[in-house]
């Protein structure tokens, strides 16, 4: 039995309770390696491919196409070819019964909480139980749930916190003067408040600039940087998108702008627009988005310049950039080559961590592994 690996419905985001298999990418009997895409999953939020947790042969497809499957329930069975068919049948029967009975124990889920930094509440979601600390910092208008495809796989090896920056998610909506310093202090203050001596920072877009600023300001606290389409390393930025996002007052106004986020425009779903409007309609969000917009933009160019800060850091740096990024275009990556290991991702737009999460997971892992062990005090 121990040779059989149960492939289970992942928990992509805090609110996900069920998902559906919409397409099998691997047929029964086919051999796969760990990290290969096994199947396509659709949740009420987003669709994505599930990577194989191990190598072996896909022995059984347990879930039916389009059947609602609770998080943690078995979708498929992987095992080496030599595991006898009877054993697989037995495991498949048990899995199927469990699924039909709905008797899936709710996975523990992330630890959710808030800490107070500079008088602001900072919300976080922690996954994983051991290993190096990783902190995920979202971009403009995003929140900790945007890491849904990245946080879970990383949490099998690391202790991974996704946080909401001030003005975002469930954190306090006040952003002070909206400067990068306020946001960077929120990150370093978060580490201090949580008793994290040193963390690997992963930042997307504005969050990338925040991570760089945090690393420059508090080098002892930051072990490595993984930057996904970071803002402010070059001058190019899609000012129309940012303004459109900030100004949209309805789903109808917002939705057209969201297609700029993805290489595959079908990912800009009505549900995504609804969720973003839910956020934008919280009291205080308008003001914070406008304050941050003033930081992000100088006319139609980037209003922040973090390349010099990045040069001043000494930590390993990995950069992941979607080739189809229409918000912070990949042209900004020129000039980073001497400071960072840049991965250009085809078939990804600005949200590379949603469209090609495995590339981001690999980059983070690489950054962590490249970090020299901390000297004992």
């Amino acid at each position: 039995m121990s040779d059989i690996t149960n492939v289970v419905m992942p928990k992509w985001g805090l609110s996900m309770t069920t998902g559906r298999v919409t397409e099998w990418l691997v047929e029964e009997g086919e051999e796969v390696s760990a990290g290969d895409d096994l199947l396509e999953i659709d949740t009420d939020k987003i669709a994505g491919a599930l990577e194989s947790p191990a190598g072996g042969v896909l022995r059984r497809q347990i879930a039916e196409l389009d059947e609602p499957v609770p998080v943690g329930a078995t979708i498929a069975l992987l095992a080496p070819a030599e595991v006898p068919e009877e054993e697989i049948d037995q495991a498949a029967k048990a899995a199927r019964e469990q699924l039909e009975a709905g008797a899936v124990e709710e996975s523990a889920g992330p630890e959710i909480g808030k800490v107070t930094v500079d008088g602001r509440e900072i919300a976080y979601a922690r996954m994983g139980s051991e290993g190096e600390h990783i902190v995920l910092v979202h971009g403009y208008g995003g929140d900790k749930n945007s890491w849904l495809f990245v946080q879970e796989p990383l949490s099998s090896s690391y202790l991974v916190d996704a946080i909401d920056l001030p003005g975002h998610g469930e954190s306090t909506k006040d952003v002070g003067d909206g400067s990068l310093d306020v946001l960077a202090q929120a990150v370093t203050g978060y580490l201090a408040e949580r008793g994290i001596e040193r963390a690997h920072l992963v930042g997307h877009s504005l969050g990338g600039a925040v991570a760089i600023a945090a690393a420059a300001a508090a080098p002892a606290q930051v072990a490595s940087l993984t930057l996904i389409a970071p803002a402010g390393v070059g001058p190019d930025i899609n000012a129309d998108y940012l303004r459109g996002f900030a100004q949209a007052q309805s789903r109808r106004e917002l939705q057209p702008h969201l297609t700029a986020l993805f290489a595959d425009p079908s990912l800009a779903t009505r549900q995504l627009a609804d969720d973003l409007m839910k956020y934008k309609r919280l009291d205080g969000v308008d003001a914070s988005l406008n304050a941050l917009l003033a930081t992000l933009l100088d006319g139609d160019r980037a209003g922040i310049e973090v390349a010099p800060l990045l040069s001043s850091t000494r930590v390993p740096v990995r950069v992941v950039w979607g080739e189809a990024d229409a918000v912070v275009p990949i042209s900004n990556a020129e000039g980073l080559a001497d400071r960072a290991d840049v991965t250009r991702v085809p078939d990804a737009g600005h949200m590379a961590h949603m469209e090609q999460p495995s590339a981001v997971v690999r980059a983070v892992t690489s950054a962590v592994e490249a970090t020299p062990a901390q000297q004992p005090a």
Binding site: L14, S15, I112, E170, K173, Q249, S250, R251, R252, R270, Q271, D274, K278, R281, L282, D283, G284
Partner: protein, 339 residues
């Protein structure tokens, strides 16, 4: 998020947040404080409205939560008058059925001021009222009368379907400068839902697409939204993919979202717990027939209560209220229809 609170708590929280934010917001109604504020010898804040929706507000805002005599004409009128004089009153008309004794103050006064006075009046009054069948409360405490208010120019009419919607729509109602009738389904008060702690607004006139689908558009209001969702799950098992639209407000009405959906699905089922004649269901049907006739692949189906008063006896009331099965059947009629 993931903070579950009830529809009742969501409404209470919206009131508390707005009263904290804006000192011009006041709350009034029968038993709204209920207790010492009205001179009773018992607990200070005994009731908080007949179903406890305003419970706790009097303790925090003793000068701005007012009990009233059972004089709906007087206090609904007073709320309207106070709204013209700089306050933002939220008056509770306990049961929507009681509009019969105070309708003049709503539809001849509040609704007309702005137009009749040449655009000079601002009347930001909210009238919260509970509606709907299901509590064995019979003919005078169970009606679904939002169509009557929807008919009146000058009023805005809100029909929230869950706790998240109730909070955001009520905050919008309080901040809105026009008179708003806020219709709370009494069978939803204990419904739990995920609601952010802070204040947020849901704008009027923007329908919520509750579920995406390509085969049929179900427009449902208030309590009927959950019924439609149940029906859609059942239909999904038979290969019918239903889109569900919750208009949230019947006035203004987001016809654009409804028509766009019908143009894609070609079929429309409207679910409205009110009586059928001159109902919101028939109004939406007529609008779609006028504006998207060419897109229709089947006759529009309407699921409503029958043209009767609400009966008392369990068995009769259960028959009276549109059911999930009624919705499934209506969808099947639409999808099976052949020219």
């Amino acid at each position: 998020m993931a903070r579950m609170i009830s529809y009742r708590e969501a409404i209470n929280e919206a009131l508390a947040l707005e009263m904290r934010r804006d000192p011009s917001v006041i709350v009034m109604g029968e038993d709204n404080a209920g207790g010492a504020s009205a001179g009773s010898p018992g607990e200070e804040d005994a009731w908080g409205g007949v179903l406890g929706v305003t419970k706790g507000l009097y303790g925090e805002f003793p000068d701005r939560v007012l009990d009233t005599p059972i004089s709906e004409s007087a206090f609904i009128g007073a709320a309207v008058g106070a709204a013209t004089a700089g306050l933002r009153p939220v008056a509770e008309l306990m049961f929507i059925d009681f509009m019969g004794v105070c309708f003049d103050q709503i539809f001849n006064q509040a609704a007309k001021f702005r137009y009749m006075f040449g655009g000079k009046a601002v009347t930001p009054v909210v009238i919260r009222t509970m509606y709907g069948a299901g509590l064995r409360a019979a003919a005078q405490h169970s009606q679904v009368l939002y169509p009557l208010f929807t008919h009146i120019p000058g009023l805005k009419v809100v029909v929230p379907s869950n706790p998240y919607e109730a909070k955001g729509l009520l905050i919008q109602a309080i901040r809105d400068d026009d008179p708003v009738i806020f219709c709370e389904h009494k069978a939803l008060y204990d419904m739990q839902g995920d609601v952010p702690e802070g204040a947020y607004v849901i704008p009027f006139g923007e329908a919520n697409v509750v579920r995406d689908g390509d085969d049929v558009t179900i427009v449902a209001l208030g309590r009927m939204v959950s019924y439609a969702s149940e029906a859609a799950e059942e239909l999904a098992g038979t290969g019918v993919d239903a889109e569900i639209i919750d208009p949230r407000t019947t006035s203004p009405l987001d016809t654009e979202t409804i028509i766009e959906s019908v143009e894609r699905t070609g079929r429309l089922v409207v679910v409205d717990e009110s009586n059928p004649r001159c109902s919101v269901a028939r109004d939406i049907s007529a609008i779609v027939a006028e504006e998207a006739f060419g897109a229709l692949k089947a006759p529009i189906q309407v699921v409503t209560a029958p043209h009767t008063p609400v009966p008392f006896s369990d068995v009769l009331e259960d028959l009276y209220i549109p059911s999930t099965q009624d919705i499934v059947n209506a969808v099947k009629t639409a999808t099976d229809w052949k020219r």
